[in-house]
């Protein structure tokens, strides 16, 4: 038996450590540990709730909109503010842009190198690469000359001897299965996607001033004025600009990302049999389609248990708890019982080894993440969960695309519960959203013709708020279900809690010893060479880890944190 440590897990956001026991060529046991902690909720205590979105936004700069959205929703829910229709549409556009851009960056820049051997691309025949590219898509950048130029650039890069971010990787590993031509095509699209993401994200710059950390959010609405007759507002010109960017986004997703995904997946179909995980899926739902108190959602909420697609339960926020048996925190009432986030407590208690260290004590506490549970069960959140709930709920476009992908790869629905299923679901969601965005832009254009409201001004002043109030804000971030809970007293934040997608997915074991989704998904993952655990990265990356999001939690009631292990 070999004990494998992957720390840092790279090509993710934040700091993640995986420890695994490998026996007989596959993972027998696994532990997921988050190794960074900031304490954002503690910092929020006593502050103006209208400022909270900017603080929580900085929990993550990759999914740079998600904690802002969850925060303004939580505070609006608490104080009773109602954003007008323009604000809902602006937010839908911002959220969908985030999801589309983020998923593409994940596929090409964070995940692709687990499947694509860059060095092998040096041996590719550009003419054959062109033939391959043209056989899967009508994307115009597909001539032999084009791929020869990409290869030439790559050759120059390698010959200069400074491999930079590509040094010391697992090139030549037996688990890489793509032919050289497919590798070269993927390298070309890696570079194209880098240009593409820079352009598409300009939608955020229009609507939020900049990306990362766009600044157009407000509790009660948005700060981006709309007026067809003003140059400092969202007007016909800015709508035309965004329409062009949306078309560019959709075009690349439909003609490059999806064909690449299918082509790569067809060589890795065995990965439909690995990485299944806990088999429970949780979705809060997203993209409100009307302005009622309980709006219809474009992507529905719901819960699926035990991979049973015949039944989608309604989501009940009261069933969420967080456990700390294996997390570096203590609960006053003992570590064996979970607590609901609205009454959550977090007393840090680092019991891990003194750095520098080689190995964590995985029998005890071993992560800065808590272990969230729904009705006592670990839940996977993210694109796979969303697509499964939408599929099982009869979402027409999702059903159509899931069916088409399964048919193309010649696999059954059970293939979805896997590493490959996660990768495919992310692509399907990207396409569904890229197709839907222009509709929201059209609605915005139609609405600003007669409605210039962007904000619920009546609830801006704290004097209009209840003396004491509580609220929750739910959001589907690219990586999954995100919830913020806020308690406001005398116009200031009295308590703030976030339960975050990567906490759900990357969390450690609970009091009952039940593994978190990463840990469960890693079981049985093949490992050809324990020194080069490429396959472990594949399954972990298929979740798109975002660790800074996961770890932030400190009980806002505590002003001081006991220092531990000071020499």
């Amino acid at each position: 038996m070999t004990h494998v440590v992957v720390d840092p897990v790279t090509r993710i956001e934040g700091h993640l450590r995986i420890e695994a026991e490998v026996e007989g060529g596959s993972v027998r046991e696994a532990w997921s540990s988050s190794t960074m902690f900031r304490g954002v909720e503690l910092i929020l205590k006593g502050r103006d709730p209208r400022d909270a979105w900017a603080f929580t936004q900085r929990i993550c700069g990759v999914c740079t909109t998600v904690h802002a959205i969850a925060s303004i929703r939580a505070v609006e829910n608490a104080i009773g503010a109602t954003p007008p229709p323009n604000a809902r549409l602006l937010r839908n556009l911002i959220i969908a842009t985030q999801c589309v851009q983020d998923h593409v960056v994940h596929f090409y820049h964070l995940h692709a190198l687990d499947w694509v051997d860059i060095v092998s691309a040096l041996k590719a025949d550009p003419a054959k690469t062109a033939a391959l590219a043209q056989s899967i898509s009508d994307w115009p950048l597909s001539s032999p000359t084009y791929f020869a130029a990409i290869q030439n650039r790559l050759t120059h890069f390698v010959e200069r001897g400074q491999l930079g971010p590509f040094a010391n990787a697992y090139w030549g590993h037996p688990a890489y299965k793509l032919p050289a031509e497919a590798n070269l095509m993927a390298v070309a699209h890696y570079l194209e996607a880098l240009d593409w993401q820079r352009e598409v994200i300009k939608i955020h710059a229009v609507l939020g001033g900049k990306n990362p950390h766009l600044q157009g959010f407000l509790v009660g609405g948005m700060a981006t004025p709309v007026d067809p007759d003003k140059q400092a507002s969202i007007n016909a010109g800015s709508i035309a600009f965004m329409r062009g960017l949306i078309a560019k986004a959709r075009d690349f997703v439909a003609r490059v990302y999806i064909p690449d995904l299918l082509a790569v997946a067809s060589f890795y179909k065995d990965w439909a049999g690995h990485g299944g995980g806990v088999g429970n899926y949780l979705v809060y739902g997203e993209y409100p389609l009307d302005d009622t108190k309980a709006p219809k959602l474009f992507l529905p909420s719901g819960v699926i248990r035990g991979k049973d697609l015949s039944k989608v339960e309604p989501f009940d926020p009261e069933k969420i708890t967080e456990q700390v048996k294996h997390s570096w925190y203590d609960y006053a009432g003992g570590d064996d019982k979970g607590l609901h986030p609205s009454s959550g407590e977090t007393k840090p208690n680092y019991t891990g080894p003194e750095p520098p260290f080689e190995k964590l004590d995985t029998d005890g506490k071993y992560s800065w993440l808590k272990a969230p549970r729904y009705d006592g069960l670990p839940m996977e959140v993210g694109p796979l969960s969303r697509m499964l709930v939408a599929y099982a709920s009869g979402h027409p476009r999702v059903k159509e695309l899931v069916g088409a992908v399964l048919q193309k790869l010649d696999v059954g629905p059970a293939a979805l519960f896997s590493t490959l299923g996660r990768v495919a679901a992310r692509g399907i969601e990207t396409l569904v959203l890229a197709e839907r965005m222009e509709g929201w832009l059209d609605e915005l254009a139609a609405n600003i013709d007669h409605d210039l409201r962007i904000h619920d001004n009546d609830k801006w002043s704290p004097s209009t708020w209840p003396k004491e109030c509580s609220g929750a804000g739910f959001h589907e971030a690219p990586r999954g279900a995100l919830g913020h809970w806020v308690h406001i007293k005398d116009g200031a934040i009295a308590n703030y809690q976030c339960v975050v997608p990567s906490t759900w997915n990357a969390g450690p074991r609970d009091a009952a010893g039940k593994r978190g989704p990463y840990e469960e998904a890693l079981l049985g993952t093949p490992v050809a060479n324990a020194e080069q655990p490429l396959e472990i990265l594949r399954t972990v990356h298929s979740f798109d880890p975002c660790m800074a999001c996961g770890v932030h939690v400190v009980d806002a009631k505590r002003r001081l944190i006991a220092r531990v292990r000071v020499p």
Partner: protein, 383 residues
């Protein structure tokens, strides 16, 4: 161009960039850096050196926002190529290697290129609880920063967390988070690029400046390059005329807001924030925060999470300006205001120690402790 430089032109051509475009980029860079046009040739020559300078990018208590900013480098369009002239040997978010293979790359650079690499730091460094709040490969951020920044030719602190401690250091600073300058005192050639996140165009300009002149640009009292932090946002703001004329947004979405009037009364911190945001803008010059209708939150300034909040409360006593002033008086005061804003810059610098002492006793203790530890180490005392 000499023979030995031809690889670069080949690379440019393979990416559809003509020699003419490249020289245009170099001229634009010279302009960003306020250099004479003749400097463009020197920049071009320097960029084409055969060995790429090595850069390692460390992430500590970060959100990867500066990494994302880095990925948005877009103006001029040749910016990506310029960054290609560096060898980014270590960057957790983009590098292919993982685990001990990744750490081996970093160790190799630190050892074999001692004193000849550039370190970029993103995120603050927790000094509380002996560094357990951030570990990478089993080592604490502080241990890594001391080693890597300590051996670097220069360290660029990218973003307000790495520069001043940023969000994790906001009161009550639960983890004893510090910026690089405070956590690793005495680090050589420290350049701070504050803002949340830092604008990548300023990083590009900084690197080109260094490659061209073999020295770092003049800095303000916070170690920030004057070419990017030399003027208040207020003084370059496209809405400044409305400030001077006393035309303000009063409510979100009102006629004034839609017209693009001054956001001062909605809480804008532009008068006390020093950054070239209004000039360089963001995402290829598409927009900037005030341009989208939201006030500046002062993200480039020290302790902005504490000093600039509540974000929607308007600044008190910006000299030369008073809410309710009549137009004649505003006109007169506005003239005074320009000088006063610069005076405020200096005042804020002086006020830093006072501010930390009064508002952040925890931060001050951490800073003092870090200082003590560093001194002890020099004396060969505690590890």
């Amino acid at each position: 161009m000499s023979e030995s430089d031809s690889w670069f032109l080949q690379e440019l051509e393979s990416r559809g960039v003509s020699r003419r475009d490249f020289m245009g980029f170099c001229s634009a860079m010279a302009a960003v850096l306020a250099l004479p046009r003749s400097a463009a040739a020197a920049i071009a020559a320097e960029i084409q050196k055969t060995e790429k300078p090595v850069l390692v990018w460390l992430e500590f208590q970060d959100c990867a926002g500066n990494t994302e900013s880095f990925l948005r480098a877009s103006r001029p369009t040749a910016a990506e190529i310029v960054l290609d002239t560096l060898s980014v040997d270590y960057h957790e978010t983009i590098m292919a290697a993982a685990g001990h293979q990744a750490e081996a790359v970093l160790a190799k650079t630190v050892k074999e290129r001692a004193g000849r690499y550039i370190a970029v730091v993103e995120g603050s460094i927790p000094t509380g609880a002996n560094g357990v709040y951030c570990t990478i490969g089993g080592r604490s951020a502080l241990q890594i920063a001391r080693e890597v920044c300590g051996g670097a030719a220069a360290t660029i602190a990218m973003g307000t967390c790495a520069t001043f401690g940023g969000l994790p250091a906001a009161a009550p600073n639960p983890t004893g988070a510090l910026g690089v300058g405070d956590a690793v005192p005495g680090v050589k050639n420290l350049i701070n690029l504050s803002a949340c996140p830092a604008n990548v165009e300023n990083l590009t300009a900084l690197i080109v400046y260094f490659l061209t002149f073999k020295r770092w640009p003049p800095l303000d009292s916070w170690h920030r390059p004057l070419f990017a932090y030399g003027k208040a946002i207020h003084d370059n703001c496209e809405r400044r005329a409305h400030f001077d004329a006393g035309q303000y947004v009063e409510a979100w979405g009102d006629e004034a807001h839609r017209t693009g009037y001054c956001l001062y009364k909605m809480g804008c911190k532009g008068p006390v924030t020093f950054q070239n945001c209004p000039n360089v803008r963001w995402n290829g010059g598409t927009n900037w925060p005030i341009g989208c209708g939201h006030p500046c939150i002062g993200c480039a300034e020290p302790d902005f999470w504490d000093k600039m909040t509540p974000f929607y409360a308007h600044l008190q006593g910006v000299p030369g300006f008073g809410v309710g002033s009549n137009v004649d008086r505003v006109g007169l005061w506005a003239t005074v205001g320009v000088g006063a804003a610069f005076a405020a810059h200096g005042f804020m610098s002086l006020g830093k120690r006072w501010w930390n002492a009064e508002q952040h006793p925890a931060a001050r203790e951490q800073a003092e402790e870090a200082q003590r530890r560093a001194e002890d180490e020099k004396k060969g005392g505690r590890p």
